[in-house]
Every structure is written in structure tokens, then in C-alpha cells.
């Protein structure tokens, strides 16, 4: 029997075609095995340290905010590849080899997970094919080029809305036909069991490091830990080691897009309902009969109409709270961090930052720790098109 539970309370599970069950069981067994195998752990750790650049620093903001609180940034933006995603793709790529498979399938929205998967595959000598919505292929040419440079095949998906969720569907279809040689390297802590647990385990060093770093600097735990939530991989990686520390408030920040009162957002926990998407029972965005709705966010990495099942459980039990931040608030925070700290954050991470800046105005003498999950280079053209270079937005600090 597996040691891992497929459920987090009522959330999670494995709602997939019977055809995929053997592949998921095989993955679960290989993963359980690898987690207790010192040689796997050593190899993973070596890659994290010597290739990806772990541990990442913890930076105390010098200028940002009111000055009434200490605001720390966990610098996943400094990781090779530019975001936390590199952690877990290295883990899964190693697992792929461990299962004796030579090919990797991945889905990607704006291309970040595709690029991360491509780099891990290039490094470890795996064949890589990435499904990407046809619309996204058009919009994200630089990332398509990056993937191709690193030897990946990029397959445009025209079905459905031609975006991330359709790319996931297509990747799952490919996997059903090819899993004997292929591993599906899912990009977030969502999807069917064992992916939510597996991705968390391959991301939880973020929180472990942050906890040790805050303790060393401050001699105590942070009061609040904040991370943005799309599918939720950086957030679960940041939260995991703090879940049992009851004095630490955990805050996930969802994309409110053009406002929670509009239909253009991606706030599955705040505005969604319970249902099933991509193999898991969780909070999803759907109409009243159960058809999945399109999500929206200025930040492609948060533009997903569901959330990882462990977040659904943390929300339901009240262990974590989930706030929402609009496009405009995120854009302000993006500029504020650049202007005051000389760090250009990813638009995803800017959501976490925007909430932290609100909190900073309400509390005193707190230690606030934000997961700065990625850097903003990838977003420059997009942000330039929105705000222009001469029309910098209001100063969020």
C-alpha cells in the first residue's frame, strides 16, 4: 500500500481515466521509493546546489514599505531559470530517469514551466515535448524560442480555448498513449494524486530554508508568510514547513484580475466552488452545471481556473487564508519593488508583494516573509505595453 494519502480532507483524489491509473501508481511507487533513497536525495541536492544555485538568499527590504515591520524576500527569483519552478522540474526529471523513461511531456501556459522542463531535460538527456495553447504560442514567442534552443519540441494546442487548461488536457491525452516511455512532468501542485504531494515535496526546501534564515536573523519565526497562488506550487513549497508552526500566519494571494466582482479573475478559492478539474477535487471556476470557466490574470502563471487540493484544504480548515489582489495592485507592487529595492519581480510574485504592502500598513513590529517566486524579466514587454516607460504607475509604498 502507498504511504501517501491521495486526499487532503475532502480534496484531492485521482479522477483520471482507468488507462492512466497504472502510470500514476508507478509514479507514486517510484516517488515513495526515491524519497527514502539517500542516493536519490544526494543527486537531487547536488543539482539544486551546483546547477540551480540553492540555497537562495533571504533579503531584508531596506526601503520598501512603512518601516514599521521587517519585510523579508525569499529570493527564488535568483534561482537558475528565474523562478522556483526549477526546483521541482529537476526532481521530476530525476524521477523520470529512475523509472527508466526517456521522454518527458509537459504543459505550459506562458512558457515558464515549459522552459524549466526543457532545461532539466537538456541537462539530464531526456527528450522533451511541451504542449502549449496556440494562442499562448503566438503571445510568448521568446519562451517558445528558449524551449527550442534547449532542444524541446513545442506542440501548439488548438482545441478548446487554446490556453493552459487545454494544454493540460492534451498532455494528459499524450500520456495515456505513451506512458510506458514517457513521464508527464506536471507544472504545479495540482492535478491527480500523487502530483500535489510530489510537487510539494520537491518545493518544500523554499520554506525550510526561509524558516532557518529568519530564525538565524531574528531569533524567532516570522509572523506572516505570504505567497502567490495560481495552481499553488511556490506557495505550498513556502508553506509546507510552517504548517505545524501555529504562530505563523499563512497567506496565499490569488489573482483578482480586473476585480473579484467581474468575471475576469483567477481566484478559484475566493470565488470558485468545489468540483473536479484535471484529476483533482478542489475549488474550481465553473458554471452552475459544471463546465469549466476561463480564468484571467495579468500574470500568466496565475491564470488557471483551479487550485492545488492542499490549498483547498488549508483554506477550508482555516490554517491558511487566501486573499486576492487585482492586476493594478500587482502592477503597482511590481514598480515599487523595482524602484525601492532594485529588484524586478515576476508579475506572479508581485501579487504576494502587493498584499504584503497592504498588511504592512495595518500592523507593527511584525516579521513578514514573502516568497519572491520569480524574476520579472519575462514580464517586461507585457508591463511596458500596459504602463509605458513614461507613465510609471502610482508609488505603492
Amino acid at each position: 500500500m502507498s504511504k501517501l494519502s491521495a486526499y487532503f480532507g475532502e480534496f484531492g483524489g485521482m479522477f483520471v481515466p482507468e488507462l492512466l491509473v497504472p502510470a500514476l501508481k508507478q509514479l507514486e511507487a517510484a516517488f515513495s521509493d526515491a524519497m527514502v533513497d539517500p542516493s536519490f536525495q544526494d543527486e537531487f541536492q547536488t543539482l539544486l546546489n551546483e546547477y540551480a544555485g540553492r540555497p537562495t538568499p533571504l533579503t531584508l527590504c531596506r526601503n520598501l514599505g512603512t518601516g514599521n515591520n521587517k519585510i523579508y524576500l525569499k529570493r527564488e527569483d535568483l534561482l537558475h531559470g528565474g523562478a522556483h519552478k526549477t526546483n521541482q522540474v529537476l526532481g521530476q526529471a530525476l524521477l523520470t530517469k529512475r523509472m527508466g523513461k526517456s521522454q518527458v511531456i509537459a504543459e505550459t501556459g506562458a512558457g515558464q514551466h515549459g522552459v524549466a522542463t526543457a532545461l532539466a531535460c537538456a541537462l539530464l538527456g531526456l527528450q522533451c515535448r511541451v504542449y502549449m495553447g496556440a494562442k499562448d504560442v503566438e503571445r510568448q514567442q521568446p519562451n517558445v524560442f528558449r524551449m527550442k534552443l534547449m532542444g524541446a519540441e513545442v506542440i501548439p494546442v488548438h482545441a478548446g480555448s487554446g490556453t493552459l487548461k487545454d494544454a493540460v488536457n492534451e498532455a494528459m491525452r499524450d500520456w495515456s498513449a505513451t506512458y510506458e516511455d514517457s513521464h508527464y512532468l506536471l507544472g504545479t501542485a495540482a492535478g491527480p494524486h500523487p502530483f500535489p504531494s510530489l510537487v510539494r515535496e520537491f518545493q518544500k526546501m523554499i520554506g525550510e530554508e526561509a524558516k532557518a534564515q529568519v530564525l538565524e536573523n531574528e531569533g524567532r519565526l516570522p509572523d506572516t508568510v505570504i505567497a502567490c497562488v495560481g495552481g499553488g506550487s511556490n506557495a505550498i513549497g513556502m508553506f509546507a514547513d510552517f504548517i505545524d508552526e501555529e504562530s505563523v500566519a499563512l497567506v496565499g494571494v490569488e489573482p483578482a484580475g480586473k476585480g473579484l466582482q467581474t468575471s475576469e479573475h483567477g481566484a478559484a478559492i475566493n470565488k470558485g466552488t468545489k468540483g473536479i478539474l484535471h484529476g483533482a477535487h478542489t475549488f474550481i471556476m465553473q458554471d452552475k452545471v459544471g463546465q469549466i470557466e476561463e480564468s484571467y490574470s495579468v500574470s500568466a502563471g496565475l491564470d488557471y481556473p483551479a487550485v492545488g487540493p492542499q490549498h483547498a484544504h488549508l483554506a477550508e480548515t482555516g490554517r491558511a487564508t487566501y486573499e486576492a489582489v487585482t492586476d493594478d495592485e500587482a502592477l503597482d507592487a511590481f514598480q515599487a519593488l523595482a524602484k525601492h529595492e532594485g529588484i524586478i519581480p515576476a508579475l506572479e510574485s508581485s501579487h504576494a508583494l502587493a498584499y504584503a504592502l497592504k498588511l504592512d500598513k495595518e500592523v507593527n513590529n511584525q516579521i513578514i516573509c514573502i516568497n519572491l517566486s520569480g524574476r520579472g524579466d519575462k514580464d517586461l514587454a507585457h508591463v511596458y505595453n500596459i504602463i509605458g516607460s513614461n507613465n510609471l504607475g502610482s508609488d505603492a509604498s
Binding site: G13, F15, L19, P22, E180, G275, L277, I284, G290
Partner: protein, 266 residues
């Protein structure tokens, strides 16, 4: 656990066997190519040789379906098809006492959002005799199975070609109505050849259960039906039929011709 009840679905397999034929089971996406055509299409299939009709309630994210059925679902959704409208069509079909019995195919989220018991009750009320839920593997099926047993509707389980002996035994013990044998790995869509290992796989299944076996995924011609009929008790035809229904003007004629052709397999 096994054979707690029988309904018209079991009878269809018994009748086909008595005629020494495989039960023929075309698949039809409800609301495709239009909602108006769904009822006449069901009638046409029933009148031209279908024993069982698998009716699809469209879902926005059908991961087990190939491009043809996926596209038909999308068009159906654009036509405004809802589960409620599908049940209206099925109720109208039931009133006319047609020969072919109906089995519903849809994804689990659709059932969940209508409420499992409500959905199952509606199935019973319109004479649906089985439900196929492609994203509900054995582990997750307990709750639905309990309700379906109560309402005497069969839950159809899938058996893929790569199944382990242990899992096959578990599924076979639960099986009722028929076993949906997947002929090849991958998603729905017609393919040129049937898998060669069909015989041994069927023999293995029959070691564990008497439940009829129906073969699906990839069957599109009378010749393939004929090959399959030597090994299995029923044959499911999906994408190949859907491809014939693109044009609303010719959909009914094409459905009749297609159904007659495959039902006259040698």
C-alpha cells in the same frame, strides 16, 4: 455484490448473443450537430441496427476523448446544450418506446454539479440503463456505485489493455452491465487496425466475470466490427460515426447509412 439487478441493458446483450451477433453501440454527442437533431438521430440509430446507444453529455474538458468527439462536445456546448436539455431529449426518446437502450457517457464533474443522487434519479426516470464516467477510476467510484445499485442503473467500468491481473480481478468483481474494454492505449478516435492481443485479454477477463465485454476506442468500419465480434459481446463506435454528422442537412441520412453498414457486418 455481482448481478444484484438486471435491466434492459443486460437483456440487449442476451438478445444479441442469441442471434449470434455482437451488440452494436454507437456513440452520439447530445446537441451535435444541433439540439434539434439529437432526438431524430437517436431514433435513426435505433431503427437501423443499434442495440444500445451511448449518449454523451458534453463537458468542456473531456480528457479521455480524441479530437473528433472533443470538437463535437465543444460545438454542442456552443449550441447551449446543458444536462437538463439532454434529459429532456432522452425523456422524449423514452416516450416513443424505441428498441435501443441508452447509456450515458459524461465526466464526473457534470454528475457532481447536478448532485449525484439527482443525476442518477433522472437517469432512472428516463430509462437510462447504464452510466460511463471516463474520469472515474475504481478507487473513486464507491459513492456513485452505491447510488446506481439502488436505482438499478449499471456503472460501466473500463478495462485498459495494460491492466494488472490484480486490478482486473477487482474491477471484474464490481462489473455490471458490460465491461468497456479499451482496445488501444490513448484516447478515443478511429484507428486502422485492431490490437492483435484481443483474444487472450478477453479470455483473461472471462476468468473473472461473466459480464459481457464491449470493445471501444478506435473502431470505425464493418470489417473491424466483424473482427471484434469474434472475441467480444459488444462493439462501441464513436468517432467514426460523429465524423459523418458534420452537416446538419445530411446528418440523419448519413447516420442511417453508417448504422446499416456496420450492422450488416459479415
Amino acid at each position: 455484490m455481482k448481478n444484484q439487478f438486471t435491466n434492459k441493458l443486460d437483456k440487449k446483450f442476451i438478445d444479441a448473443k442469441a442471434r449470434n451477433r455482437a451488440a452494436l453501440m454507437p456513440f452520439l454527442t447530445m446537441g451535435y450537430p444541433s439540439q434539434q437533431l439529437s432526438l431524430p438521430l437517436l431514433e435513426t440509430l435505433s431503427e437501423n441496427g443499434a442495440d444500445i446507444i451511448e449518449v454523451g453529455i458534453p463537458y468542456s474538458d473531456p480528457v479521455a476523448d480524441g479530437p473528433v468527439i472533443q470538437a463535437s462536445s465543444q460545438i454542442s456546448l456552443e449550441n447551449g446544450t446543458t444536462p437538463e436539455k439532454v434529459f429532456d431529449i432522452l425523456a422524449a426518446y423514452a416516450e416513443k418506446k424505441h428498441s435501443a437502450t441508452l447509456v450515458i457517457m459524461t465526466y464526473y464533474n457534470i454528475l457532481l454539479q447536478q448532485g449525484l443522487e439527482n443525476f442518477v434519479r433522472q437517469c432512472r426516470d428516463v430509462g437510462v440503463t447504464g452510466i460511463v464516467v471516463p474520469d472515474l477510476p475504481l478507487e473513486e467510484s464507491k459513492m456513485l456505485k452505491g447510488l446506481l445499485d439502488e436505482y438499478q442503473v449499471h456503472l460501466i467500468h473500463f478495462v485498459p489493455p495494460n491492466i494488472s491481473e490484480q486490478r482486473l480481478e477487482k474491477i471484474a468483481k464490481q462489473a455490471s452491465g458490460f465491461i468497456y474494454l479499451i482496445s488501444v492505449t490513448g484516447v478515443t478516435g478511429k484507428r486502422k487496425q485492431l490490437p492483435v492481443n484481443l483474444g487472450p485479454l478477453c479470455s483473461k477477463i472471462r476468468e473473472y466475470t461473466q459480464t459481457p465485454i464491449a470493445l471501444g476506442f478506435g473502431i470505425g468500419s464493418a470489417e473491424q466490427v466483424s473482427q471484434a465480434a469474434q472475441e467480444v459481446d459488444g462493439v462501441i463506435i464513436g468517432s467514426a460515426l460523429i465524423e459523418e454528422l458534420k452537416e446538419p442537412q445530411s446528418a440523419i441520412d448519413n447516420a442511417a447509412i453508417f448504422m446499416r453498414e456496420v450492422s450488416h457486418y459479415e
